[in-house]
């Protein structure tokens, strides 16, 4: 089996992580966290982020331990063929479902807020097609796409955050732990679930120039994503107050609606925000789709992942169309998110522990490169 070229820099890996994590979830995030702990929403976001931040370290360590193998391959080396086959199949199935629901959530937002007469099937299939076609490229292009869109995703979030400060009121953020938070843990898990896309680092590491920088890339990539999340929640809650935020289905979108550029350039930013948000959803979809497809290729020991791109499309689309209404969709997303935490955090952690106990270790990247040169 030929190895992918090692071309991805640490910065690209970090950009990939950030733009994967910032996705469809940012619109509803303030609502979820406010439901968990009213004015303590920023704290919930921070704790959820920290949980994911720490939770993904074992995966990165695994990747660095087996720097030239993909997740499917090294899990086979660690726990044997059949158990690992089941585990990997779960991971792949999970990311297929995640892709499906991401596209569905996107579709719901678009037809509710902008294109009210367009059928949801169309918005979903267009987005999925776009992602599917883009996943036919190799990992280097994949990282380039993320790197390219990275600034585009950073600017509007920062802009809205800064401009909304004008209407912000600190009282809305106090007390920072919330007034008798009841669903704190639930909120933390829901927020952590929004970072599940970080699993993509498992695909990126084997293609990194210097896999030993993976931990650093992971650190910065997730930190930027987490900081943006906290900022969005702080901005939303400080402008609207916890109670009003809990009345809004997509508080971040409302924030963009209530924010105007100075000097009457744009009276409401929601159109601009949505346009950029489509890009961030695309990068998120691209990551989870790419993960599904490439791991599937490794699982079935195929030479190329291209054929899986279109092969998976009907399945993903079918899953996306399963929820009957928007409440059911969000309920399902929350459940899937919880399961996802087991698949993406607990399972790799177990693998790492077993790998350490059994003292399994992959070839070192440099050693392998040298071996090739010989």
């Amino acid at each position: 089996m030929e190895q992918p070229p090692r071309q991805i820099t640490a910065i690209q890996a970090a950009a990939t992580l950030t733009s994967t994590n910032i996705g469809v979830g940012v619109l509803a995030l303030p609502l979820f966290t406010v439901q968990a702990a009213n004015s303590g929403a920023p704290l919930v976001t921070l704790l959820g982020f920290l949980l994911a931040f720490v939770g993904f370290v074992p995966l990165v360590l695994l990747g660095m331990r087996f720097p030239s193998q993909s997740f499917v391959q090294y899990s086979e080396a660690i726990i044997g063929k059949w158990p690992s086959w089941i585990g990997s199949a779960c991971v792949i199935a999970f990311f297929a479902v995640l892709t499906a629901f991401t596209s569905r959530e996107f579709g719901e937002v678009v037809i509710t807020a902008v294109l009210t007469r367009t059928p949801v099937e169309v918005t979903v299939i267009v987005m999925l097609l776009l992602a599917a076609i883009s996943t036919r490229k190799d990992i280097t292009t994949f990282a380039y796409i993320h790197h390219f869109y990275f600034p585009l995703l950073l600017v509007p979030v920062l802009l809205i955050g800064a401009l909304s400060l004008k209407n912000a009121d600190v009282i809305n953020l106090l007390p920072i732990w919330g007034n008798q938070p009841t669903f704190m843990l639930e909120g933390i898990l829901t927020t952590a679930a929004l970072f599940e896309g970080s699993f993509v680092i498992a695909v990126v590491i084997p293609a990194m120039k210097r896999p030993d920088y993976a931990l650093k890339a992971n650190f910065w990539g997730m930190l930027v994503g987490g900081a943006l999340y906290v900022m969005i929640v702080v901005a939303t809650v400080s402008v609207f107050g916890a109670e009003e935020t809990s009345n809004l289905l997509w508080p971040t979108l409302e924030l963009a609606k209530a924010t105007s550029l100075p000097a009457n350039v744009l009276e409401r930013l929601d159109a601009a925000f949505l346009a950029v948000w489509v890009t961030t959803v695309f990068t998120t979809l691209l990551s989870s789709y790419f993960l599904t497809v490439t791991e599937l290729q490794k699982l079935f020991r195929q030479r190329e992942h291209k054929m899986f791109s279109l092969f998976m499309l009907p399945f993903v689309f079918f899953i996306a169309m399963l929820p009957q209404n928007i409440s059911q969709m969000y309920a399902t997303i929350k459940i899937v998110g919880r399961i996802g935490l087991i698949v993406t955090i607990v399972y790799p952690t177990l693998l790492l522990v077993i790998a350490i106990i059994r003292n399994k270790r992959g070839e070192h990247a440099d050693a392998q490169q040298m071996g090739k040169n010989d």
Binding site: S39, T112, A113, V114, L115, T116, R117, T118, P119, V122, V126, N167, I171, N172, L173, L174, P175, W177, N179, Q180, V239, F240, G241, E243, E244, S246, N247, E254, K257, A258, S260, E267, R268
Partner: protein, 411 residues
């Protein structure tokens, strides 16, 4: 052979995919096919209007709404091509006065949506709310409760949070039909009235989004501008219409808007007030130039005590008589003392008034929730409990002010 066959099939395939994507989406809507709504007014339906309810959203036998809850909605729709930007030259074309640039249509319904559906049934273009800037609600409707109106507007994705909502004394419909001289479009005149009031410090910024936020907060009640149309089609800001939950429970007087803004420390400051001083006896008019305010709370015997510290800087604008001169610090000191006394009295009166109505428009409750969460969680918790407790809390207002300037006259 195969490649040529592939080529011939590829082109139609590309066309097949590209054309549906490029030919536009389902939501294409030409400008002249939409009816752009600029303003909406909501009144209670008058007896003779009751019969006009169109029964379009329901069959009249299986829905029972009380007839007295009917509302009458006037909608101001922009007439495409008639709204000119900037000054126009065609006023000399013989008709004189303003050219009709908007079309006001009145409908009756049980709810806001019902009324608008009835309206859509009578109008060809699709109603579009993206440019809805002003919603005027009559006092009668506001006192009955605005839950339904807020719900519809919040649910609609086109309505902006930066629109203004006004409470009108008397029929709200009049404001939709008004023909102000300064602007071609009545709603734009209403907007500029409100915007410049905010700029001049005559009214706190209070878009519909902020109104909703205040209404949802547990420790705060909402307020809206209370307006009245005058003879010359001008609009007077009469005060703050304050709410309890979604129902209007009272309105302040004009100067109390200034008092409210002092208590909240809103800048710029724009109100003038008489100050009657005793030594030397006389009256001057002063205006505040800037305000600062801070709140602190203490819990004594399970009752919250609030202290508001207000600081205003004032200038003298007018003096009534020549019996004294404004040429030394002692007189200014006298004015300052008197202003302090008057402002704190006015503030306490306003707070008392809202306490009687159980409407905490100042957000003291929010302050308590934020700064004393332990007390709040134990004793208050809900909006209803705070509304009751607000009636009993004590609020001390301490005003400090400085007289800085006396204008261009030396005496």
């Amino acid at each position: 052979m195969l490649s040529r066959w592939a080529k011939t099939i590829k082109l139609p395939l590309v066309i097949l995919i590209v054309f549906p994507l490029l030919s536009g989406c389902w939501d294409r809507l030409e400008l002249e096919e939409r009816a752009v709504v600029l303003g909406i007014s909501i009144d209670t339906a008058e007896p003779e209007e009751v019969q006009q309810e169109g029964a379009i959203t329901f069959h009249s036998d299986n829905v029972s709404f009380p007839k007295k809850d009917l509302i009458s909605v006037s909608v101001q729709i922009a007439i495409p091509g008639k709204i000119q930007l900037g000054p126009s030259e065609n006023s000399g074309s013989g008709k004189g006065g303003t050219v009709q640039s908007v079309w006001v249509v009145k409908v009756v319904g049980y709810t806001l949506d019902d009324a608008l559906v009835n309206l859509q049934q009578q109008i060809s273009g699709r109603l579009f709310y993206g440019h809805l800037r002003v919603i005027v609600v009559s006092e009668a409707v506001a006192r009955r409760g605005m839950e339904n109106i807020n719900d519809f507007l919040r649910r609609n994705s086109e309505v902006r949070r930066m629109a203004w909502m006004l409470i009108s004394r008397g029929r709200a419909e009049e404001l939709m039909k008004s023909k102000p001289q300064l602007e071609r479009v009545p709603t734009l005149y209403l907007i500029s009235t409100m915007d410049s009031a905010v700029r001049m410090g005559r009214f706190p910024q209070n878009y519909i989004g902020m109104f909703w936020s205040n209404m949802s907060k547990k420790g705060q009640e909402a307020f809206l501008p209370y307006v009245e149309m005058k003879k010359e089609q001008n609009i007077e800001l009469k005060g703050l219409a304050y709410f309890r939950n979604d129902k209007m429970v009272g309105a302040t007087r004009s100067l109390e808007m200034g008092t409210y803004m002092s208590l909240k420390g809103v800048n710029p400051a724009g109100y003038r007030g008489f100050v009657q001083i005793g030594n030397p006896p006389g009256t001057v008019t002063v205006y505040a130039t800037s305000r600062r305010a801070s709140v602190s709370v203490r819990i004594i015997d399970n009752v919250p005590h609030f202290q508001v510290n207000v600081f205003t800087e004032i200038n003298v604008e007018e003096k009534f008589s020549d019996t004294f001169a404004l040429n030394n610090s002692r007189v200014l000191e006298e004015i300052r003392k008197e202003n302090r006394r008057q402002l704190s009295e006015a503030a306490e009166r306003l707070i008392k008034e809202t306490q009687r109505a159980g409407s905490d428009i100042f957000g003291f409750g929010e302050y308590l929730r934020a700064k004393r969460p332990g007390f709040w969680d134990r004793r208050v918790k809900t909006k209803e409990r705070w509304q009751e407790m607000y009636k009993t809390v004590s609020v001390d207002v301490k005003v400090d002010s400085r007289v800085r300037r006396i204008g261009m006259k030396a005496k």
